[in-house]
Amino acid sequence: MKNSTLPTGISLWRKILNKLMTVLIIVTVVLAVIPLLLILGDVFIRGAPAISIGFLTKLPTAPNVPGGGIANAIVGSFTMVGIASLISVPIGVGAGIYFSEWSSSKLSTVSGFMNDVLTGFPSIVLGLFVFVVIVLTTKQFSAFAAGVALSLVMLPIIARTTSESLKLVPTTLREASLALGIPRWKTVLRIVINTGKNGLLTGILLAVARATGETAPILLTASTSVYFAKSIFQPTASLTVLIYNYGTSASRIWQTQAWGAALVLILIMLGLNLLVKFTVGRHLSGSRVET
């Protein structure tokens, strides 16, 4: 498109190379987008026939008996992510506040760096850690252990997004509050957090979405089960491990149900993402008012 503005003396080879690279770059974009369309398309097409009221409310059946459901896996997934949130939200938000409000301290630098390192750890390593610490010592796979493992997945995400969104709160706001004689703890808890709370919420929702889609840490800590768990201290089914087990099984019925469960999982994650978009939107409009 810029060729018309180029000097006339430009060589043919440079023009051809320019066009060629443009085409090549467009090809890479097409190659990157095709898998997404295929994956989403396949999940909807193959998953939809499996979905019914019974599928969502019944317990699993034996490999080749039709009519089973995934109710216990849905409940299990929510239980684990709930436990993980209870652990990771207070600690993550606390660490995030520290990173943002005491950003010049040495502890803040070291812990912030460790936080980034934790974000980059393979989730199976986190799962193996909890397997060694909790599952091997209690000799019991449990939803509780899975919750702890997932909290390690969520923690660094929450800490990072909290500190990023609190850093966006104007310094003048803090200074104005302190100048009025309001103590620092009240300034932080009432004014800084209140101003940045939508960004904070976004981070928590992103972390919840990430934890909901995790498989490896749950496989190593909660194992699976075909019943509703009676307590959080026994093996518990989850959507992702069920997709893994059913998807790699030889049973046709289970394979179809794996696609159904995948669709349910995608819809949950899509819902969380829409919720994030909603809060980000409010977050942006909120900060515009402030400046």
Binding site: K2, N3, L6, P7, I10, K15, L17, N18, M21, T22, I25, V27, T28, V29, A32, V33, P35, L36, L38, I39, D42, P90, I91, G94, F99, S111, M114, N115, V117, L118, G120, F121, P122, S123, I124, V125, L128, F129, V132, L152, L155, P156, A159, P183, R184, W185, L189, A209, G213, E214, T215, L220, I243, Y244, G247, T248, W259, A262, L265, I266
Partner: protein, 309 residues
């Protein structure tokens, strides 16, 4: 009242410091626990754990090399396929769509969505959709026409290094292209304008002015993508066939560090179990190294531009 105020400050600070220290404690605790868990295996096998080529739990002959090899090979395939594509997507969004920001934003969001799809769904899709396609339209033709090359010599049946590498490529493209996009967006416009004013074509501006300026950050994105490929578990486990193997043949079943853990953590006991945990320890150190490198490169890139602006 005057005495309650500093007390509130102290309490808040103690709570927040505890949270920050907790994060450090987790990383340190991870290293210690994985080391203690693998102590028995380290004592039994010593350095030969990294040198032997066999994994035979029933005979107590255990070595990590086949899994290190599998992780490196599948990641290499993923990078060879995924890196040029990520670079292309990033250049397209940041350079070609400079004057169409909304479309660029929409395309970026679509690619980012790929990163939100859970790994197990990639695996499911890999088993039922990608494996038949790759086997029938890529692997079999390659084997028939270029079978004399050791890479393509195996009889393809789909569950192999190659499929795992392709799945990994699809999974790391969003990470790499998003970071590269961010890096290209901090390249100052004066850098491009100077080249245009010399009469350069679009491609020459990108190739000689934008990419060299951003190379440190692009390498950071490369390393981050590599880190993601190293640690990815479920999708790989579902398509790689899970047979420890050291071979140049891409169409042969294999196993990676993470797929081994996912498959054998539960069935093990004694020194066997300890060896599985040592595999985790190796993965831990690899992830640590890759992360340090990536953060350092990205930090250097962003710091450099802040100075220049």
């Amino acid at each position: 009242m005057r005495f309650r105020l500093p007390r509130g400050d102290t309490i808040l600070k103690i709570v927040l410091v505890a949270a920050a220290v907790f994060i450090i404690a987790i990383v340190v605790g991870l290293a210690i626990e994985l080391y203690l868990g693998s102590a028995q295996s380290i004592r039994t096998f010593g350095f030969s754990f990294l040198a032997g080529t066999k994994w035979l739990p029933t005979q107590n002959v255990l070595s990590a090399l086949p899994f290190i090899y599998g992780t490196l090979l599948t990641s290499a395939i993923a990078i060879v396929i995924g890196f040029p594509i990520s670079l292309g997507v990033a250049v397209f969004i940041s350079e070609k769509l400079k004057s169409h920001q909304n479309f660029g934003y929409a395309l970026g969001t679509v690619v980012d969505l790929l990163a939100a799809v859970p790994s197990v769904i990639y695996g499911l899709w890999g088993v039922f959709v990608l494996i038949p396609i790759l086997r029938d339209y890529v692997e079999v033709p390659l084997h028939k026409s270029l079978g004399f090359i050791p890479l393509f010599s195996g009889n393809p049946f789909g569950y192999d290094f190659f499929t795992a590498g392709v799945i990994l490529a699809i999974m790391i493209i969003p990470t790499m292209s998003a970071v590269t996009r961010d890096v290209l967006s901090v390249v100052p416009n004066s850098q491009r304008e100077a080249m245009y004013s010399l009469g350069a074509t679009d491609w020459e501006v990108t190739q000689k002015s934008v990419l060299p300026y951003a190379r440190s950050g692009i390498f950071g994105a490369f390393v981050l993508g590599l880190g993601r490929a190293f640690g990815e578990t479920m999708a790989v486990t579902m398509v790689i066939g899970n047979i420890p193997n050291i071979t140049t043949n891409l169409f042969s079943a294999g196993a990676t560090l993470s797929s081994l853990i996912a498959n054998e953590f539960g069935e093990s006991s004694g020194v066997y179990q300890s060896a599985v945990i040592e595999i985790g320890l190796i993965l831990f150190f690899v992830a640590l190294l890759v992360n340090f490198l990536a953060r350092f490169l990205l930090w250097r890139m962003t710091r450099g531009t802040r100075v220049k602006n």
